[in-house]
Amino acid sequence: MTTQRRLIRRLAATGVIATLAVSLTACFGSSKGGANDDPNAKVTITFWHGWSAPNEVKAIQQTIDGFEKANPNITVKAVGNITDDKINQALRAGGPNAPDVVSSFTTDNVGEFCNSHVFVDLAPFMAKSGIDPEKTFPAPQLAYTAFQGDQCTLPLLSDAYGLYYNKDMFKAAGITSPPKTFSEFDADAVKLTKTSGDTYSQLGFMPLYHGYESTITHFAAQSSPTYFTADGKSNVANDPPLTSTYEWQKSLVSKLGGYAKLDKYRTTFGDEFSNNNPFMTGQVAMALDGEWRGGMIDDSNSKVDYGVAPFPVPDDQADQYGKGYITGTIVGIAQNSAKQNAAWEFVKYLTTDTDAVVNFANAIHNVPSTNAALASPNLDQNPAFQTFIQIAQNQYSNTTPSSPNGGAYQLTLQNLGYGYESGKVTDLQARLDAAAKQIDTDIAQAQ
């Protein structure tokens, strides 16, 4: 009996100890960050990035190797294939395994990163290093890496959007040069379209908002819209360039056969980021796409003989032909990093060292994100790639501004577009008024 009681007590004690152990291991704390570290001390920093393809991983590792060679006291531990969900989780939790330097493929979350101060403001670091952001980076890249004056991230290569066109189809249709204005573009798109029964054997251009990169914000960049007023309120209900973009797209949908026919044809398209992309298979003669598409076509077995030009502009802005939508990868330093000075040395190298930026851009077919790198003679001289370099350098090129709710306003505008192109929305101005109200409400809720 005594032995049994002792056994029970021991078991109970084991239970309590196990419970306490679980409780204690569940308790963790985050380290407090700061920029008090010695940048000359021997240190290892952790860098999270999203690149996963072998050539991309190799390219970023070569950039890191270059940095470590120039800064032998700093070792960079790179962790690839990181998604934004993981980034948010790590920035929230902190701790010794959290990253010091983080990059993200989307600019949509910059507003939240700056607003919540999970990334440090890089302005003091740039001032200390004598970097003038206005002179170093093009205006769109600076715009999408900051929010309300807080430069909490910097651009790490960019993406520029332009027009891809099939040279053989152009020749067959008797088109000698790529269109420069919307009216020329519409005429060419119609000329390049061949119907077959209730569908198409060839479509000039897929204008629907589900047509991959044919989003309202990408189209609207050709008209240079103003999404927000100076005081941060939505301007979409009072912005003629945006309204005219919706109207132009809708008219093009009608000219090419109407929404239902185009939408059915769209369902025959293969995956956007595969060799079955409709431009690469010859299903469409023209496409709005980023500079990466050229690299994909060159690396694939696609037989498309393609040309690249800036996407056309509205007729009344013909003098601004050459501009386009700009976006890109961003990089920042975690607020809870205890090695911020060392991290800054790395970020400075990644984003402002001309050779590093040029080599990385050439390796992964992205557009460089500094003025010096864009002008570098060492950049890939492929004519298609150079067209995107010129788009990125164009003074009228623009981007979508940051917002504190992950770019929810872009989704609101895109949803309006779906309704308008399909004919469900007829009073565009009324819906733009409603969209402006919704955007303001969403942003107020997020702040």
Partner: protein, 330 residues
Amino acid sequence: MTTTVSTPATAARAAKPKSSPQLRRRHRRELLRNLAFLSPWLLGTGLFFLYPLVTTFWLSFTHYDGFTSPVRVGTQNWKYVFQDYPFFWPALRNTVWFVIVLVSLRLVTGLILGMTVINVKRGSSVLRTIFYAPYLAPPVAATLAFVFLLNPGTGPVNSILGKLGLPQPGWFNDPAWSKPALTLLAIWGVGDLMVIFMAALLDVPRELYEAAELDGAGAVRRFRHITLPTLRPILGFAVITGVIATMQYYTEPLVAGQVASGQIGGSGQQVEPGYPAGSTLTLPQLVYNLGFQRFDVGAACVVAVVLFVLSMAFAVVLMRRGSVFLGSHE
């Protein structure tokens, strides 16, 4: 004036001697010992159920972006979700649609398949394998396969329908057909219910059917008066677990919507929820959209609380009305 009725229990209590300090100590020791043994479970339930539940409810009254400390904002999130967030009511309507239509059809199909498999004379094991196998398919793979099969432009289903001169629906690309298409997918994977119903049907005493048959009861009456009442606890279980699973319906509508729309957002990018036209939007998708894409954890918690309350309400009503787990005869 009251009357005291003496029962064996009250008599025993009256006869029980007053507890001595020694006895109380022993009871306390026993209680502590029992609690110590229960502590892993208590800790697990507390950490992974009660704490998140209470925190979710509390966070629904705060502004919390997931990074900075929560700030109390009263009922602001509730007002936003119910009045200003454009996706809430469509998602709630869709969720209710799925709960009513999808759960019912899965139940009926599972029962029919179960009865078919146990009543066929030959090939029962082959049929059982054929009907059960789809349940083992991973949800993402199964959804992708259905989206490709039902593609209005290139899918084989519409090609066959076209050759037969039948209408060719837009399936996952048509707001009127997207929910039925998802229901088809759910019915295709009904093998789990079929197996449960088969087991329950095999437990129905054969003598009951024989007696009813002797009394002249036809197949329909035998099903209504013998099979259904006997299966009642299993039906109740299937309904409640089906309702709860459908309340959490996330993967299939999300994957189907994104693949059919062609808008596979990159990491961190928001994409159109519930393509086409919000017809496949469900409440769990809103929790993700609000909490992890819009950084509005407070509003996401409102939707989570609504989901919890709805699930509980369904479960309580079903259990109270039908005594489902006990069966009407007990």
